[in-house]
């Protein structure tokens, strides 16, 4: 199995997944549009905040726009390309992994790329608007922004995979998985620099939302190559960790006899 054939497989999966997720086109476009509007409305709150206060411990509205753009890109990328991650725990509990285990490749990519959520397109579309129009960044900043935001998307996806894998050990923890996911997003979209040292340590390790919002913003604000490298490192480490946890969890998986549905 060469790298070329693996990439071909992933591209084919992505193509089919996105095509299926975007049908019907009208509904998908509406979902994307509403998500775009949703992001703008949320930003309005921060506009009101910064019309009352000069800064939030050094951060201004432009930094907030940068942060929101990072989270939108990371989340959009995750749910458009790997939307299956949102339903992974349910799939595992229902025995739906059989379908993916029956394939000649590793089951994780096909599981993650089994769905595509069209609302994510609204996130992907709004991120550049936030970066260029609201954060005042130029086109020259885009390569660095896209690099760290994409790494943030990998960390986000990997973290959600780890959370959803909980059901391998705790099959009744479906609700907990959803709550953890909501907590993860909730923490990522707020500025984390005023947090205490202990809390920030947690956000850089156990609950790595700092790699989704805070660190990518700091990498761009300070044009710091070390922080950008740290982002790439985090994407690799959490990606590998997610694959390892999933692999470990598979040993506990009980079939749902779904392979029969394929026949």
């Amino acid at each position: 199995m060469t790298l070329r054939s693996s990439l071909d497989y992933l591209f084919a999966l992505a193509r089919i997944n996105i095509r299926a997720g975007m049908a019907p086109a009208g509904g998908a476009a509406l979902s994307a549009l509403l998500m775009f509007g949703n992001n703008l409305i949320f930003f309005l709150i921060w506009s009101i905040y910064f019309s009352n206060f000069s800064s939030l411990r050094g951060w201004t509205l432009a930094d907030m726009a940068l942060l929101m753009g990072m989270c939108e890109w990371a989340f959009g990328l995750a749910v458009v390309l790997a939307g299956g991650v949102r339903h992974m725990a349910q799939t595992i509990v229902d025995g739906g992994l059989d379908v993916h285990l029956g394939r000649p490749r590793h089951p994780l990519p096909s599981l993650l790329m089994s769905r595509s959520l069209p609302s994510g397109l609204g996130d992907l579309a709004s991120a550049p608007v936030f970066w260029l129009a609201f954060a005042g960044r130029g086109f020259a900043d885009l390569p660095l922004i896209l690099l760290v935001a994409t790494a943030a998307g990998v960390v986000l996806t990997a973290s959600v995979v780890i959370m959803q894998c909980l059901v391998f050990w705790l099959p009744r923890a479906l609700g907990l998985c959803e709550d953890l996911f909501n907590m993860f997003l909730m923490t990522a979209v707020y500025p984390q620099h005023p947090f205490s040292f202990t809390m920030r340590m947690i956000l850089f390790t156990l609950f790595p939302t700092a790699f989704v919002g805070f660190l990518p913003v700091e990498a761009v604000r300070n044009a710091d190559p070390l922080k950008a490298l740290a982002m790439i490192g985090a994407a690799l480490v959490y990606g590998a960790l997610a694959a390892a946890v999933f692999q470990r969890g598979l040993r506990r998986y009980a079939s749902g006899n779904r392979i029969l549905e394929l026949r």
Binding site: G27, S31, M35, I45, S51, D179, M199
Partner: protein, 267 residues
């Protein structure tokens, strides 16, 4: 007369069902509580880092701001997102059998949600009270303010539930309710004053928000903790009741339209 009494008894049974289900789903309660407390911790740090003195002499303290968020989030978490159940019933077609019951579907659904929300108002209220008190070292509640606050919270949640039923019904037309829910949720953020009191808003936006139903859901109970600016407690509660009536009538219309659509086209 007898059928009215029978209906009231059936509705009460649905209220109890919602209450008991909420008690039985301990994991859901734990998850909601954890998320609520996390928000309070985040906002404690944010308000401590905010230069509130820039607002002038009458600026609220960081502790008061946290209590405001604790109240508005309390209402949001107590109501939850029950619209998903209606959306799922429409998508799966299960609503067809529910519509055939002698008790109106909307009434039964709202009764069940009311039971669950009542439980969550108490449970989340206790959790929020303890956490906000621990984080700020203050308790701005007195015997005189506690009852109006509880009433305003319950009325706010009731209006939110009516909205959620309408959102669930949207699936009869759109196939999904989620995109409309996001917009509604964000309108609650802005016009309801979920995170920032409406008194922080520019004049025109503040005026617009104060006369929206979203302010009746969140800002009304939240403003009681900050001290009502120019409005008496009775006026705040009165405005909530007025919005409850308006949204209830709108829900009735949506309910009829959705039932007609489902009868005509199927779920």
């Amino acid at each position: 007369m007898r059928s009215r009494r029978f209906e009231a008894g059936a509705l009460w049974a649905f209220v109890l069902l919602g209450w008991r289900r909420a008690i039985a789903e301990r994991a859901a309660l734990a998850g909601r509580l954890a998320l609520y407390l996390l928000i309070l911790v985040i906002f404690r740090q944010l308000w401590l880092a905010t230069p509130l003195q820039e607002l002038g002499q009458s600026s609220p303290t960081a502790a008061e701001m946290l209590w405001y968020v604790a109240i508005t989030e309390w209402v949001v978490f107590a109501a939850g997102t029950p619209y998903r159940a209606v959306e799922e019933q429409i998508r799966s077609g299960q609503i067809e059998s529910a519509l055939l019951r002698p008790l109106p579907y909307a009434a039964a659904t709202l009764a069940e949600w009311s039971g669950a929300t009542s439980f969550y108002l108490l449970a989340m209220g206790a959790g929020g009270l303890a956490t906000a008190a621990a984080l700020t070292g203050t308790v701005p509640l007195t015997a005189a303010t506690a009852l109006p606050l509880l009433l305003a919270g319950a009325l706010g949640s009731a209006i939110a539930l009516l909205f959620q039923l309408q959102l669930g019904y949207a699936a009869a037309w759109l196939g999904t309710s989620a995109p409309l829910f996001w917009i509604w949720q964000k309108l609650m953020f802005v016009f309801g004053g979920l995170l920032l009191p409406l008194t922080f808003y520019p004049q025109a936006l503040r005026y617009l928000a104060e006369f929206s139903p979203f302010a009746a859901i969140l800002f009304a109970p939240g403003s009681l903790i900050l001290g009502p600016a120019g409005a008496s407690v009775a006026a705040i509660l009165g405005r909530q009741v007025a919005w409850f009536v308006v949204i209830a009538l709108a829900t009735l219309l949506v309910d009829r339209a959705a039932a007609a659509r489902l009868a005509q086209r199927g779920a």
